[in-house]
């Protein structure tokens, strides 16, 4: 499908479009749909004056996840502790898209501090799935995915630490990309687990996804883990050009059977996944099954590392320099002040910080944290073997349908089937994409591809072809 964003920008450049029209429509849609689905934490009410006429995103409305800082626009991380926090600077990705003329229409709802898979841990209430309000839209970038799925915007930014772009994209029927670690600047992204956090695009078409990605992937001296863009303008060309079917004949898709034949996987989703594989095969893709039982332990490794990093990263929220204050500093000593303020965190955040403190404490560091880092090394080298010789890992985007919005996620083991394929890309720093391939009633079906480092050009090319095949 042609990129709606590109079409608008080209029309605008030729003088065939009104620069206010796209944003106006987005705000009208947001006013109608936000009350239904609770998509935004902060929604801009008015169209800014003097919108740009040129720039790669001139006049294009964009929704931004509320853990990406925006100068003079409230950024809450969906937490009471940052309820009134208005940053004095913008994240690099925000600066880049604004320089290209994009208009940020609002900050989207999310799981608090990006901790959650269902979009339900927000202090501002859960986001509902636009495809069916009884279902979770997936998290943690729940609002960004819902903003795209409901048709408010065509492109949005989310962040992905353990599947947080790809799961909500899969559960709301849109496209989501988790870039190679280092491809997109994290400067201005409020950290959860920084060795795995990545900002990623969500879009209504593969072309829009590629186009936004071509703009935000670049080297940033403000992020020491930033590596830059090795593709030149190739990704933008992919966005602009027709799908290249030859890409399917040049790759080897490998399906880890443990992630498909998972005891928690839903039979009807697995059937749809198999049907999608047959269709790809008939178009020339080479698909083979592989086996690696250790992949089922990916979520456990992920949680140990994520909890540990979270307990360190979130130590900065003390209510002294920024954030809400429940008592005044004159009234109490430092420890009491710190503890009282941090009681503002929601339950999911509290328990992850405290479990991280436990894992890193004397006696348990070696047993859990050190062991998880070694397991990460082992999994990374096994995945590198799978990807050697042009291999790409193929899994369901989600092997289960979206869960009910009131699902109790206390027991993380119950989400193992969903977490394992997604978290694999975060643990290893690899790029991964979720691509919609149809629906069963209101239930969206998707596939996920995980590629070698810096293979986003291949993943996005496959996404374009897949979109046309299943369109």
């Amino acid at each position: 499908m042609k990129s709606r964003v590109l079409s608008f920008v080209e029309d605008l450049r030729r003088g065939a479009a009104d620069q206010y029209k796209y944003v106006e429509k987005a705000l009208e849609e947001a006013a109608k749909k936000d009350p239904k689905f609770n998509i935004f934490i902060t929604l801009k009410g008015e169209i800014p004056e003097n919108l740009a006429l040129s720039g790669k995103l001139a006049g294009v409305p964009v929704a931004i996840k509320d853990n990406i800082v925006t100068k003079d626009l409230r950024t809450t991380c969906a937490s009471k502790i940052l309820e009134n926090f208005v940053p004095k600077y913008s994240a690099t990705v925000v600066k880049i898209i604004e320089k290209e003329g994009a208009v940020i229409i609002g900050k989207t709802n999310m799981d608090e501090f990006a901790m959650g898979a269902l979009g339900t841990t927000s202090a501002f209430g859960p986001t509902l799935n636009p495809l069916d309000v009884k279902l979770s839209p997936g998290g943690s970038s729940s609002g960004s995915a819902a903003a795209v799925s409901s048709g408010i915007v065509d492109i949005a930014l989310g962040s992905d630490t353990g599947g947080s772009v790809r799961l909500p994209a899969a559960w709301t029927g849109v496209f989501g990309l988790k870039p190679t670690y280092g491809a997109v600047s994290r400067f201005g992204l409020i950290s959860y687990a920084d060795s795995m956090d990545q900002i990623g695009p969500i879009a209504s078409t593969a072309s829009d996804l590629a186009y936004l990605y071509s703009i935000i992937s670049s080297f940033d001296p403000l992020d020491p883990t930033s590596s830059g863009n090795p593709w030149g303008n190739k990704i933008e060309r992919i966005a602009r050009e027709e799908p290249d079917y030859d890409i399917l004949r040049s790759i080897k898709l490998k399906v880890p059977k443990e992630l498909v034949e998972h005891p928690q996987a839903d039979d009807s989703i697995v059937k749809e996944f198999s049907r999608a594989l047959s269709k790809l095969e008939s178009e020339g893709a080479e698909i083979s099954e592989i086996s690696e039982p250790s992949l089922l332990k990916v979520p456990q490794v992920y949680y140990i590392i994520a909890f540990s990093e979270a307990s360190s990263n979130l130590a900065r929220f003390d209510g002294v320099r920024y954030g809400s204050r429940v008592i005044m500093p004159e009234e109490v000593d430092w420890d009491t002040y710190y503890m009282e303020n941090r009681a503002l965190f929601g339950w999911e955040v509290k328990r992850r910080i405290m479990l991280g403190a436990f894992i890193l404490s004397k006696g348990y560091y070696e047993m859990y944290y050190s062991m998880a880092l070694k397991a990460r090394g082992m999994i990374k080298s096994k995945v590198e073997q799978m990807l050697s010789g042009g291999g790409i890992i193929l899994t369901p985007g989600s092997p289960i349908p979206p869960l009910p919005i009131d699902y109790d996620a206390t027991d993380l083991s119950r989400l193992n089937a969903v977490d394992a394929p997604l978290m694999l890309a975060n643990l290893t720093g690899l790029p991964a994409i979720t691509i919609p391939v149809g629906k069963r009633g209101s239930i969206p079906i998707s596939i996920q591809l995980i590629g070698s480092p810096w293979s986003e050009d291949i993943l996005l090319s496959i996404a374009k072809v897949t979109e046309e095949i299943f369109g």
Partner: protein, 98 residues
């Protein structure tokens, strides 16, 4: 499994609350204790993995900026809201008890 050998009790919860500097209500303490048991029994599953010896803490080599002064803020105070600043200092609670 190792979780069986860990004393999961109120004392541990109090210690974690203190280490994390997060005040918990009595109700939350009971809830945390129950949930720690569930989560630890899950993450314990990695202890049987043959994990090798290479620890991976980061995924990017990283680049360090030139050690030269750029147009950054002088003290970082410019990034803070004026409401918490008094006479050029951030107003914070006392760090000693007494």
């Amino acid at each position: 499994m190792p979780t069986e050998n860990i004393e999961l009790n109120e004392e541990l919860v109090d210690k974690l609350s203190w280490l994390s500097r997060i005040k918990l209500s009595e109700e939350e303490k009971i809830k945390l204790l129950a949930e720690i048991k569930i989560i630890l029994s899950y993450i314990d599953e990695i202890l049987t993995l043959e994990a090798g010896s290479e620890e991976i803490t980061h995924l990017a080599q990283g680049r360090v900026r030139e050690d030269i002064k750029l147009n950054s803020t002088e003290t970082g105070m410019e990034l803070l809201h004026q409401s918490i600043i008094e006479d050029g200092y951030v107003k914070a609670p006392k760090v000693y008890k007494g």
